[in-house]
């Protein structure tokens, strides 16, 4: 392409090289070093005057250095009279800090958008922003590309029984991101959710209300129903959950969940009105507002569609059998906690000191869809699977993989509780903080991890993870650059290609 220059930051020389190969050109010359005091030094070694400049930079373990380098490169190109500077950010840094999630927290993503503008960016190209609202943070145009067509294509070509598979969201906040993949592949959809505040006796009705209107195929399987009825009976029998009624009678301050005892009483005494109520809204979707108490009522009261709900106990980030001792009372649980690096990292979690340091309420934890699991160590959690995955392949989908905890918990839930056949963990951005990749590799319940190369994965790490599949984004980005340069429409890049 004439009068176009593509610069690569230090974070992603490989991706930039591939983008340039797609465009039939070579990356432009720049010397990126650090002074001995740690300041970033940038030298643009080729003329940029009146050129259309693209700077490609992803994330890296030294994320702040990477950002400064990007800003200085943009600033240098602007100072060198480039006609237009486009930042190509396959992974937008700080994209998870896109809202004021606690008292006086910073909206860092907005600040970064402003900083890019100040440095001299005229256009931003990025992939799968954590929240698409972030496009509004910029004064310049933003092209938020989707890796979804790429992922859908990989699924169609590489998963033998994909037509029978189920797409599962691992938290409530990410559900919206996940449904579009399910829609594109015309697959069933499920969800795993971890209750952060309540113990194992919480009901599913609260979660189910969110799912009204989501299209599901009511797959009825009497045997699995039976299994689940049994498990929920078992749960009711465990010491950890028998004291549940006293807990439940406290006000839960959750408007979506009617007080459970009232609801439960009604379901026993006057179940008919409830039944008719749910049937009125039962057009295509199945409205499920039931609890595990229904199991005690016997099958004649069951609205069977409501029974694609499975519960599990999550202790130290892992699914445990129903008779596992509650960690609150067991010493063994505590020692596990000390050894488990994942829960150790939770101990230093941002939100852990908050309750006393800020005297704050729990609203920080409520926005937990932003962060990975914020589970307090030593506390047992209730994990709920909504949807039937028995004997099927499961795609657990989110926008990024950073911490392994919620992925492993979700995978264990769908395999051990939902009896899924195979588990694919799919995300656009494989950030893999800490030893995340090693932990996911070691998890028996995960069969394949699919990410794109938007975030650079060290080669030795990628090689040692046999489950890892990295999809190449370079064609998408190259095409976006080409279309941007020639002023063509971007819309075809968002469309799914049915090439089977």
């Amino acid at each position: 392409m004439r009068s176009t220059l593509i610069f690569s930051g230090t974070s992603c020389p490989g991706l930039t090289k591939k983008i340039c190969e797609n465009l039939g050109m070579a990356p432009a010359d720049a010397e990126l070093t650090q002074f001995s005091n740690g300041e970033t030094s940038v030298r643009i070694l080729t003329s940029v005057r009146e050129k259309d400049v693209f700077v490609v930079q992803s994330g890296s373990p030294k994320i702040n250095d990477t950002i400064m380098e990007l800003l200085i490169m943009i600033s240098a190109c602007k100072g060198g009279s480039a006609s237009k500077i486009t930042a190509v950010l396959p992974y937008f840094p700080y994209s998870r800090q896109s809202k004021k999630k606690s008292h006086r927290g910073a909206i860092t993503a907005r600040m970064l958008a402003n900083l890019l503008g100040v440095a001299g960016v005229k256009h931003v190209v990025t992939v799968d922003l954590h929240a698409s609202q972030m496009q509004g943070f910029f004064r310049c145009p933003v092209d938020n590309l989707h890796a979804e067509p790429l992922i859908a294509r990989w699924i169609r070509h590489n998963v033998p029984d994909w037509k029978e598979a189920v797409v599962v969201s691992k938290n409530a906040g990410g559900t919206k991101r996940v449904t579009s993949l399910a829609d594109a592949l015309k697959l069933n959809f499920g969800m795993v959710t971890t209750d952060k505040k309540r113990g194992p006796n919480m009901t599913a009705s609260m979660i189910m209300n969110h799912l009204d209107g989501i299209e599901r195929q009511p797959v009825l399987d009497p045997i699995s129903n039976q299994v689940r009825n049994n498990t929920s009976e078992l749960e009711n029998g465990t010491p950890a959950s028998t004291n549940g009624h006293s807990q439940d009678s406290r006000p839960t301050a959750d408007a979506q969940e009617p007080p459970r005892q009232i609801n439960g009483a009604r379901s026993r005494a006057t179940s008919n009105p409830r039944h008719s109520r749910s049937q009125t809204t039962l057009s295509q979707s199945s409205v499920i507002d039931e609890m595990d108490e229904e199991a005690e009522e016997g099958p004649e009261y069951n609205d069977q569609r409501a029974h694609e709900v499975t519960h599990g106990r999550l202790v130290q980030g892992h699914i445990v059998p129903d008779d596992f001792p509650s960690p609150a009372t067991s010493v063994a649980g505590e020692s596990i906690h000390e050894e488990d690096p994942m829960t150790m990292s939770h101990a230093s979690s941002f939100f852990a000191p908050q309750s006393h340091a800020l005297g704050g309420s729990g609203d920080a934890a409520e926005s937990s869809d932003e962060e990975d699991e914020i589970l307090k160590p030593k506390v047992e959690h209730m994990i709920t699977l909504v949807g039937d995955v028995k004997g099927r392949s499961v795609f657990i989908v989110d926008d990024m993989i950073d911490k392994p905890g919620s992925w492993i918990a979700a995978a264990e839930t769908v395999v051990k509780r939902g009896l899924a056949k195979k588990v694919y963990c799919i995300a656009t951005h494989g950030v893999f903080g800490g030893d995340c990749l090693e932990q996911m590799q070691a998890c028996d319940c995960i069969d394949t991890i699919v990410v794109t190369n938007s975030y650079p994965i060290p080669e030795d790490k990628a090689r040692s993870a046999s489950k890892l599949v990295v999809l190449d984004l370079s064609f998408l980005l190259a095409e976006a650059i080409r279309r941007n340069h020639y002023g063509e429409s971007m819309s075809p890049l968002f469309q799914h290609v049915l090439d089977q």
Binding site: S36, S41, I67
Partner: protein, 323 residues
């Protein structure tokens, strides 16, 4: 009136130099505000103010530790942004050691003016006022459209020289032509002689040949500069001064960045002492280098904060160091 009373100093400290913040807070008789800052597992910085800053006068103290410049800068920007979002009345960034101050001009084709970029970034994040110490070039003040108070370590240095040496025995030496103004100013105040070393610098952080202009024979030669980074310049200059008959050589430097092999270079040099201020966190360098002396600059910064908050003049501090 009551609204005026409610407006107080909130001193917020970054993670780069808590020691300096504590000293400033102690001097002001207040506590450093409670904050939480940490890095996520992907090394993104996160910051939360632990107490209300609504309608308060916020001062954010952040230096930049050697090697972690970008980390410190990013944290500062996030802290400013968080206070802006939390409805602070005014946000003053106290940056004793302004990062990227040396990249302040387009000295080569397409060289970035990173200092201006940093200035723009600070304002974009929401800083209303900047307090810094001994900017590498005063022109950097012009990169901002908000007020910048550039404090000087000079009064503290003058006091140090007066307390430790007989001014007549001293020669103030500038290690390069650019620092001549700084050195002459000290020489004028002490009423002593002045000398200058001309150096050729082929590349950044590399020092070429040096020529002494002036007489230092049988005198205590005091090198004055704004920052000591790898110390190559200072050590070579000290050697040149010794060759020219100086009795002893010491150096007074505002920002002791001391990166790379600076400590080893210093230990093996003819310098009798390197005196720095605590604008930059020194870590264990004081233990590792017996020649390193530290002047506490926190009284000057604390007084500047107090005066800024009360709307008093800061110019007194340009010539006097608070005791």
């Amino acid at each position: 009136m009551s609204a005026e009373m409610a407006n107080e100093i909130k001193l917020i400290s970054g993670r780069s130099h808590p020691d300096l913040s504590d000293k400033i807070a102690k001097r002001l008789g207040i506590d450093v505000a409670r904050t939480i800052s940490l890095n996520y597992s992907n090394q993104e910085t996160s910051f939360t103010v632990g107490e209300s800053v609504r309608d308060e006068d916020v001062f954010i103290v952040q230096s930049t530790a050697t090697g972690d410049v970008n980390e410190g800068l990013m944290e500062l920007l996030i802290m400013i942004s968080a206070c802006r979002t939390a409805s602070a009345r005014r946000i003053t960034a106290v940056i004793p050691n302004f990062p990227y101050a040396r990249q302040d001009k387009k000295d080569k084709s397409r060289a970035p003016i990173s200092a201006r970029l940093v200035a723009n970034m600070l304002q974009t994040a929401g800083a209303n006022h900047i307090v810094t110490v001994d900017l590498h070039a005063s022109q950097i003040q012009g990169f901002f459209s908000v007020p910048v108070d550039n404090l000087y370590a000079e009064p503290s240095f003058l006091r140090y020289i007066r307390e430790n040496f007989n001014a007549e025995d001293c020669v103030i030496v500038s290690p390069d032509a650019g620092g001549a103004k700084r050195a002459t100013s000290i020489a004028d105040h002490l009423n002593t002689a002045f000398a200058l070393i001309h150096k050729e610098r082929p590349r950044p952080n590399v020092v070429g040949r040096m020529v002494l202009v002036g007489n230092v024979e049988d005198k205590v030669a005091i090198l004055v500069d704004d920052m000591a980074d790898t110390c190559g310049t200072l050590v070579k200059a000290a050697a040149v001064l010794k060759e020219n008959g100086a009795k002893s050589v010491l150096a007074l430097v505002t920002h002791g960045i001391l990166s790379g092999n600076a400590i080893e270079t210093l230990n093996g040099s003819v310098l009798s002492a390197l005196v720095v201020t605590n604008t930059v966190p020194l870590g264990d360098k004081v233990e590792r280098c017996p020649k390193l002396r530290v002047i506490d600059i926190s009284p000057t910064i604390a007084e500047a904060i107090r005066r800024t908050h009360n709307g008093e003049s800061v110019s007194y501090l340009f010539t006097h160091a608070p005791v």
